[in-house]
């Protein structure tokens, strides 16, 4: 089943009247076509201002589309808002969005109640979620005193209070330390194993490669491409790549002339990359390199980072909002 389907989705923000008296607006989403399959972890990767948060808010029914259609599990976000809200959980990035004067447990009790849970179920789910995000020990402390990472964990728990089929995570790991980020990946894998669909926006390409089944690159309110994270590499180059060390450059002579070799580049002093058009050529190159004593051989494909840089350019990579 399709978890999310957006067709020609457009969203603009009104900025009021400009100096000349004309109405000014920002187009955050431009006729976006977008689809997420149920049960997958789908990444939304793009620079600041690409429209990721806007898309999440529309899916969470917090914003209305300006035009175009959006369905979540077949329910239109405008006409069947109630059904959509029942099936979606959302974690907006950042630290805000919790009642900081209350404890973690009191926060979760409240958010659970808003999903209509009866008392007993509410208490049980709160404890389960606290354990799940590793906050059981600190659950009676005020959120005020929580570190950024702890707040993010609580946010995740909050996003799960309604037992959502679709979980929207808007830059959930921004500012997380590496251990927390690893825990986060494990949690995402668990949630996926439970059959939930996850839409995750991020700047972090390593994260997208690690957890996503599919990635959509988005820029300027348009979806540029949707692929498996590894398959995205093919957008940049169909070539296979062999990288190797040869400190004295002994391995190099004659390489460019081999059949199927299209390029030999120097990556850093003593490290080189050969690109070939076919697997046959790759085998021949590897054989030759081994004979000539090259070390640290690896075959690679273009990573997400390279795809991103090529398609979107070198902007907006900084973490911020």
């Amino acid at each position: 089943m399709t978890a999310v389907e957006a067709v020609a989705l457009r969203r603009t923000y009104d900025l009021g009247r400009g100096r000349g008296g004309g109405q000014r607006e920002v187009v955050a989403l431009h006729a976006l076509d977008f689809r997420v399959d149920e049960g997958t972890v789908h990444g939304l990767l793009g620079p600041n201002g690409a429209g990721k948060t806007t898309l999440c808010k529309i899916l969470a029914t917090v914003l209305l589309p300006t035009s175009g259609g959006v369905r979540v599990f077949g329910n239109d976000v405008v006409s069947r808002t109630r059904q959509v809200r029942q099936s979606v959980g959302v974690v907006f990035g950042g630290e805000r969005g919790l009642y900081s004067r209350l404890t973690a447990r009191q926060n979760l009790h409240y958010w659970c109640a808003l999903y209509g849970l009866p008392r007993r179920a509410l208490l049980a789910r709160t404890e389960m979620l606290l354990a799940r995000v590793g906050l059981s020990e600190r659950s009676d402390e005020k959120v005020d005193g929580f570190s950024r990472g702890m707040k993010q964990r609580l946010h995740l728990a909050r996003g799960l209070v309604g037992d959502p089929r679709l979980l929207l995570l808007d830059e959930p790991t921004t500012g997380m330390d590496p251990v927390a980020a690893r825990d986060f990946r494990l949690l995402v894998a668990e949630l996926r194993a439970e059959g939930r669909t996850i839409l995750l926006t991020t700047h972090d390409m390593a994260e997208a490669e690690a957890v996503c089944d599919r990635v959509t690159l988005i820029d300027g309110g348009r979806a540029l491409a949707t692929e498996h994270p590894r398959a995205l590499g093919a957008l940049v180059s169909r070539n296979e790549r062999i990288e190797f060390d040869s400190p004295t450059a002994d391995a190099l002579p004659g390489l460019p002339a081999l059949p199927g070799v299209v390029a030999v580049t120097t990556l850093s002093p003593g490290r080189y990359r050969v690109e070939t058009t076919a697997t046959e050529a790759t085998k021949a190159v590897i054989g030759l390199l081994l004979d000539r004593g090259a070390t640290s051989l690896t075959t690679t494909r273009p990573g997400l980072e390279e795809v991103y840089l090529k398609l979107i350019g070198n902007r907006g990579m900084e973490v911020g909002r």
């Binding site: 958010w111 109640a113 999903y115 009866p118 309604g162």
Partner: protein
């Protein structure tokens, strides 16, 4: 037919849960921030002032009036205080969007939270009663305890319903602050909080009928000071009907607030 009925029932159960949870949330928040209970600090001073006038004039029979008035003032100003920036505070705290994304009704959340605040403000009654007794030796008797409780309970509900409407108006109106600041004394007057409305100029009286608080003030005084309370059920109903009308208007206006949030992406002025 039955499915329709079960659906309504389920809706109602949800609404009650939202209400109860929001009530609890507000109590927890106010416990953590005693400054929000300022009305409980001012209420005894109001009763001191009113009682010193009635006692000075040797009108002990008016003591119940002097005890009741500060309670109504506390109830009203507490709801103005909480309703005034409830929505914009949620916005500032970053919780508004999360709340909107849940299936629960925003009006019911607001109702529950204001109801909690108003309930706390009813402790002003205990304070003013004690002031009368300890400072002036006047024991205000409670000849109709059940009627008094019913009056207080309906007053709370009607106040919370009306304040839900105010919470939406404060977001939608341009000059919410001015509104908030000027909405107290005219209401005290029209509601006959201290001076019974029958003492007001005749042309003002029709207006007092639509102010739910005027019915509350009358009932509160009667349940403290009269041997009998004329038409108690009818008057309680009037309070509830006016409160429900306020809540109904509040729901409509709250939809408008939500529309603004979802279309503009902000609470700002359209």
């Amino acid at each position: 037919m039955t499915t329709v009925r079960t659906m309504h029932m389920a809706e109602l159960v949800r609404a009650v849960r939202t209400f109860a949870a929001s009530f609890r949330l507000q109590c927890l928040m106010m416990r953590r921030s005693p400054g929000d209970l300022a009305v409980l600090v001012t209420a005894p001073f109001f009763s001191l002032m009113f009682l010193s006038m009635t006692e000075q004039a040797d009108r002990s029979a008016l003591a119940p009036y002097a005890v009741a008035a500060p309670v109504l003032i506390a109830v009203w100003s507490m709801s103005l205080f909480v309703a005034g920036d409830l929505i914009s505070k949620e916005r500032g705290n970053g919780t508004l969007e999360g709340l909107v994304a849940t299936p629960a009704s925003l009006s019911v959340m607001v109702l529950g939270r204001i109801c909690a605040a108003v309930t706390l403000s009813v402790f002003a009654f205990v304070e003013t009663w004690l002031v009368a007794w300890l400072c002036f030796g006047v024991v205000v008797r409670l000849p109709h305890p059940l009627a008094l409780l019913a009056t207080l309970a309906t007053t709370l509900l009607a106040m919370a319903g009306t304040a839900t409407m105010m919470a939406a108006v404060f977001v939608l109106a341009r000059s919410a602050r001015i509104f908030q600041n000027t909405l107290s004394y005219p209401v005290y007057l029209l509601a006959g909080v201290l001076v019974p409305v029958s003492f007001l100029p005749g042309w003002l009286r029709p207006f007092t009928r639509v102010v739910f608080l005027s019915w509350c003030a009358g009932l509160l005084r009667d349940s403290l000071a009269r041997p009998d309370i004329p038409d108690l059920p009818g008057r309680l109903t009037a309070v509830l009907v006016l409160g429900a009308a306020g809540f109904g208007a509040g729901r409509l206006l709250m939809r408008r607030v939500l529309w603004r949030v979802r279309v503009l992406g902000t609470l700002g002025q359209a």
